[in-house]
């Protein structure tokens, strides 16, 4: 590579931020960047994009039951089994794993109930939905049916989006209470996972939403709109739940 007068090419930008250039090439690029504002901005942009790509993928969480099965497979005892046995996935295994997680989660939740935190209350309601198997009070996938059902039952109103993310369906809704406040509980299916989404009235002194996280293996995500607080609980992977949250938040914007 000779002294660089023209702007950096795309391959050069990528190779530079990935540390793939030779020391000589690296110093030539650095020399060019010292005198070229547009290329310096492009390097900055590419570096940000690289970090964002890593960050998005890191948010992907491997289902704990899958990780347990794979870890078990790695043990010498498991590896002695014939190859055909390795395909552990089946409805039976899935149901067993789900029951186990539910039981462990319920036990874990009861142990922490004394804290009386909102997260525990949310988890309680979601687990009640999962374990009870009772249908929602209003059963419909039609937002024009579900939303009006809450009229007169809640001191606030909310919107439902025209379209949900791919693989997500609305199953219906329930009237419930969180910390003594009335709330709309909407039940969704994301793939084979169930998600409970709570709409509550946002108090005026509440500034930022609580930090999203994982409790007892369940993902809990929060979002605030101007008037509402939206909280979602599910065992689906966080990015899928975030997609649903995103469209729900967007639906609250003035139309």
């Amino acid at each position: 590579m000779t002294h660089i007068n023209a702007h950096l090419g795309y391959d050069q930008v990528s190779a530079f931020i990935d540390g793939e250039l030779s020391p000589k090439e690296t110093s030539e690029v650095e020399e060019h960047l010292a005198n070229c504002h547009p290329c310096a901005i492009r390097i900055l942009s590419a570096t940000q994009l690289k970090a964002a790509t890593r960050h998005v993928s890191e948010r992907f969480v491997v289902p704990p039951e899958a990780l347990s099965r794979l870890t078990a497979q790695l043990s010498p005892e498991a590896s002695k089994k014939p190859a055909g046995v390795y395909t552990l996935r089946s409805w039976t295994w899935g149901a067993l794993a789900a029951s186990l997680i539910l039981a462990v989660s319920l036990l874990g939740w009861h142990a922490t109930r004394q804290s009386g935190s909102l997260a525990a209350e949310l988890l309680d309601q979601h687990l009640a939905v999962l374990s009870g198997g009772s249908p929602p009070e209003v059963i419909s996938s039609d937002r024009h049916t579900v939303k009006p059902w809450f009229q007169g039952k809640l001191p606030f109103s909310f919107n439902l989006p025209d379209a949900l993310p791919a693989g997500t369906t609305l199953n219906g809704g329930d009237l419930t209470f969180l910390h003594g406040q009335p709330a709309a509980l909407l039940r969704f299916n994301i793939g084979r996972h169930q998600a409970s989404v709570f709409f509550t009235q946002r108090s005026r002194d509440e500034s930022e939403p609580a930090t999203s996280g994982i409790q007892s293996g369940f993902v809990i995500q929060y979002a605030n709109t101007h008037d509402l607080r939206i909280t979602a609980v599910s065992d689906v992977n966080p990015s899928d739940l975030a997609r649903l949250m995103s469209v729900l938040v967007e639906a609250q914007s003035p139309r």
Binding site: A6, H7, L8, G9, Y10, D11, Q12, V13, S14, A15, D18, E20, H37, P38, A40, I41, R42, L44, S45, A46, Q48, L49, K50, A51, A52, T53, R54, H55, V56, S57, E58, R59, F60, V62, P63, A66, L67, R69, L70, T71, Q73, L74, S75, P76, S79, K80, A83, Y86, T87, L88, R89, G191, S239, A242, R243, S246
Partner: protein
């Protein structure tokens, strides 16, 4: 079947990689059940072939190569192979068409959903190299080993992946404004 000591070494090397292997299999197949099947089969194959692994070389690149080859024989990969991928054209890609202002290159990357969507829209072959580079931290020569292409092709695919990702994000930004 490897000796017990060899199996123990395999377990020691492979165990920390399980989340990465699963995550990458998921990005390849876009299906949780298939991702688990792919990783299970990968572990099984890698354990059987572990005697051929040369100590001192990169185990991660070696096992990711097995994972990729396993994916290529899966139902999803066979179906996807019907789609056409425009092969790399370095002469067309390595150009410097700058945006109107340099600052137009800077994106608001705080929108996780938009970033996720843009990554999802990437052609699988571009997303694959980008994730191996940015998420798994493999060097270009290791990625070349994993996907069995020349190192120059790796470089141009990564470059093209980032350019496409950037364009997707810019379009989303334009729509949201």
């Amino acid at each position: 079947m490897p000796a017990p000591a060899s199996s123990a070494l395999f377990e020691q090397l492979a165990l920390p990689l399980l989340p990465s292997l699963y995550s990458h299999a998921f990005w390849l197949s876009r299906n949780h059940e298939e991702a688990e099947d792919i990783v299970q089969e990968t572990i099984s194959k890698a354990l059987r072939a572990f005697d051929s692994f040369h100590a001192g070389t990169n185990f991660k690149a070696w096992v990711f190569r097995i994972l990729r080859n396993t994916f290529l024989t899966s139902r999803t990969a066979i179906a996807a192979s019907r789609t056409v991928f425009l092969e790399d054209h370095p002469d067309l890609l390595n150009i410097s068409d700058m945006s109107p202002t340099p600052e137009d290159h800077l994106l608001r990357l705080d929108n996780q959903a938009a970033m996720d969507q843009a990554l999802d829209r990437l052609h699988p072959q571009l997303r694959e190299v980008l994730l191996l580079c940015d998420v798994e931290g493999l060097k270009y020569k290791e990625i070349a080993l994993v996907i069995d292409v020349p190192i120059g092709t790796v470089m141009s695919r990564i470059s093209r992946a980032r350019r496409t990702l950037h364009e997707h994000l810019q379009k989303q930004r334009g729509v949201s404004l």
